[in-house]
Amino acid sequence: MRVNPNPYSDILAALAQTQQQINSDEQQIASGMSVNLPSDNPAAAADLVQNADQSSQADEFRRSIGSIQGEMQNADSTLNSVITSLQQAISLGVEGANGTVNSADRAAIITQIQGIQSQLLSLANLSYQGNYVFSGTKTQTTPYVVDPNSPSGVTYEGNTGVNSVTLGSHFTLQTNLPGSQLFSSSGTDMFQSIQDLITSLQSGTGIDAAVTEVSNASSSIDAQRVFYGNALNQLTAQQTYLSTETTQLAQQQNTVGGADLTAVISNLTTAQTSVQATLEAVGQTAHTNLFEYLK
C-alpha cells in the first residue's frame, strides 16, 4: 500500500498539539488553577463565580460584624454603668430613708443623687461614631433632653425604631434597643424614678416607695441588657462560623478549580519527553531517500 510520502505536516501537527498541552500545563502550574478560562471547564467556571461571591460575602459579613461589635459592646458597658449608678442611687435613697439622717446630710444625699441624675442623662445619650445609640433610628438626634415641664425632668426625642443587619446567608441580627424601651418605659422609667427619689427625699415622705421604683427601673434595664449580651455572643459565634465557611469555600474552590499539580507536572514531563522523542526520530530519519544512494 502506498503511504503519504511527506509526513512532515503530520509531524508538525503532532508537535503543535503537544506544545499546546505543554502551554496549558505550564499555565496550570503558574496559576495553581485548572480552570483559567471558562472554556477549560464551563460548569466549574460557573461554580467558581458562585464561590467567589459567597466568599466575598463571608468576608463582608465579618467586616460588618466587626463594625457592629464595637457599638454593641459600648452599649452593653454603658448599660452596666447605668445599673451601677442606679445601685448607688438606691443605696443613697436607703441611707436617706433612715430617720437618724439630719437635714444637712439629706441635702448632701440629694446633691449626690442629682449628680447621678445628670450622669444617667449623659449615659443614655451615649454617642458612638457620630450616632446616638439609644435614640431608636433617629441616630442624629440627642435622645434625652432636659425638660423642666416634664414630670421625669427629661423628654425622649428619639423614636421606637430598631435596625436589623444581615450577617449571614440565614442570619439577621437586631442591633439596637430604643431608649424609650430601655430607660423610659411606663412603670419602669429610670428618669421618673430618680426624679421621684429626689422629690421624696426633699419632702421626707414616700422615700421607701421611691427606692423601690428605682430598684424596679434598675431590674428592668438589667433584664434588657441581656439583649446586648446575647447579641454579642451571637456575633462571636457567627464570626467563628464565617471563618469556618471561608475555609470551606477556599477548599471548595480548590476542589472545583484547583490544579492537580502532581498530575499536571507528570503530564508536562510526558509531553516534553514526547516532543524530544519526536524531534530525535525526525532528525534521524527525515533526510534519507533513494536518490542519495544512486551513483
Binding site: R2, P5, N6, L37, D40, S64, G130, T137, T139, T172
Partner: protein, 456 residues
Amino acid sequence: MSSLNASLASALSGLIAEQGALAATTNNVANVNTPGYSREHPVLATSDPVVIDPLTFGTGVTLQSIESIRDPILEGQIQQQTQAQGQFSTLTSALQQTQVNFTSSAGDIGTAISNFFDSINQLSTNPSDLSLRQGVLTAAGNVATSFNTTANNLTQQRTSLDLSVVQQVGQINQFTQQIAQLNTQVANLQNAGENAGTFIDQRTQAIDQLSSLVDVSVIPSDNTLTLITANGAPLVIGQQSFQLQTQTNSSGLHDVYSQGKDITTQITSGQLGGTLQARDTQISGIQAQLDTLAAGLANAVNGVQVAGFDLNGKAGTNLFNAPSASGVGAAASLAVAITDPSLLAASSDGTAGSNGNAEAMYALNQQPVINGQSPTDYYSGIVFNVGNEAANAAAEQSASSFILQQLNDQRAAVSGVSLDEEAANLVQYQDAYSASAKVISTISSMMQTIIDMKSS
C-alpha cells in the same frame, strides 16, 4: 518478413517513450513541495503491430498520455472538512477572545456585583455614615463600568468580525473568478484532447481555499464544474463566476447578498459561516444576556431605592439611569444617576439612622430579580454559556482538524510525490533508455556489416 529498419523504428520509439516518462518523473521531482500538486504517471502502451503473413511483428511503444493521479471523492471530502475546519477555527478564535471578558479578575462583572452588595451590607451597619455611602456609590460606579467595558468589548469584537465578513467575501470573489478562469483553461485543453492535470491541480487547490471560506458544493460536468453554496446560491457556473456582495443593514453590520438576494443567514460553514455565526448568534446572544442582567439589576435596585428615604428624609430617586423598556443596550449605557452620597435611600422610615431600605436593597442579591434568578446566579449562567460555547467550538475544531489531517494523509498517499519512487522510476527509465540505445547501436553495426559486405 521484418526489416532492420523496422527494428530501428521500434528501438527509436523506446527512446522517445522513455524520454517522455523521464520528463514526467522530472516534473514530479520538481514539484515535490508544490501544494496541491498531484503526481504524474506516464501511460505507456504497445504500438499497433504489423502483420506480415504469416507473422505479426510489434512496432515498439507509445507514450499515450501523462496522467495526474488523484481521487476526486477524497478531494470532495477534503473540501467538506475544510469548510467545517474554517467555520470552527474562526468561531473558536472569536469565542476565545470573548471569554476573556468573563474570566475572574478584579474588574469582572461578577466581582463588581459582589462588591456592590458587600458595600450595601457595610452601609447597613451604619446607614448615616457618609464614607460608607460613598463606598456604595463607588461600588455602583464599578458595576456600571464593568458592564460598559464588557459590552463595549463585545461590540468592538462584532465590529471587527464585520470587517472580516467584508474581507472574506472579497476573498471568495477572487477565488471564484480564478476558478472560472481555470475552468476555461481546463475545458480548452481537454476539448483539444490534452492533459489538463496542472490546471486541475490549481483548480482543486483554489476550491480547497474557497472551501475554507464558505460552504461550497462542487458539481462536476463534462470538462468543467459548477460551484454553489449549500443553499444554492451560484458561485461559479462553467466559465462564469458570480460575485457575492455585501450591504450594510439597519444595525450597521454587513449582510451578504447573492444575485440581489440576502443569503446572510443561509451561510452556515467555512470561515464566513463561522464569522457570521460568532457575530450574529454567539456574541450577540451574550450581549443580550448582559443587557438582561444590567437592566434587571438596575430596575431592581432603583425599585428599592425609590421606596426608601435618603439621608435628609426625602424619598429616594433612581440609583442607576433607568434602562430602556426593552433592556436593549442596557449594559453599554448603565450609569450611576446620583453623585451625592446622601441621596442613597438607606432609610425605610425617613430617619437618618434607619437601615431598613439598605437591608431591602442588600436582600436583592438573593432574590430572583433577573429572569427568575439572583444577579450572581444569572451571571454565573452567562459564564457557563460563554465557556460552553468556546469549549464546544474548540472541540469541533480539533475534531475537524484531526479528520482533515487524516484526509490529507490519504490524499498524499494517492497523489503525493515520493522521492524514493521517483528515484526508482528514474533508474528504470534510464535503464530502458540505455537498452534501446544499445539496440540501435547493435542494429547500426549489423547495417554496417551489410554495407561492408557489398563494398568488399
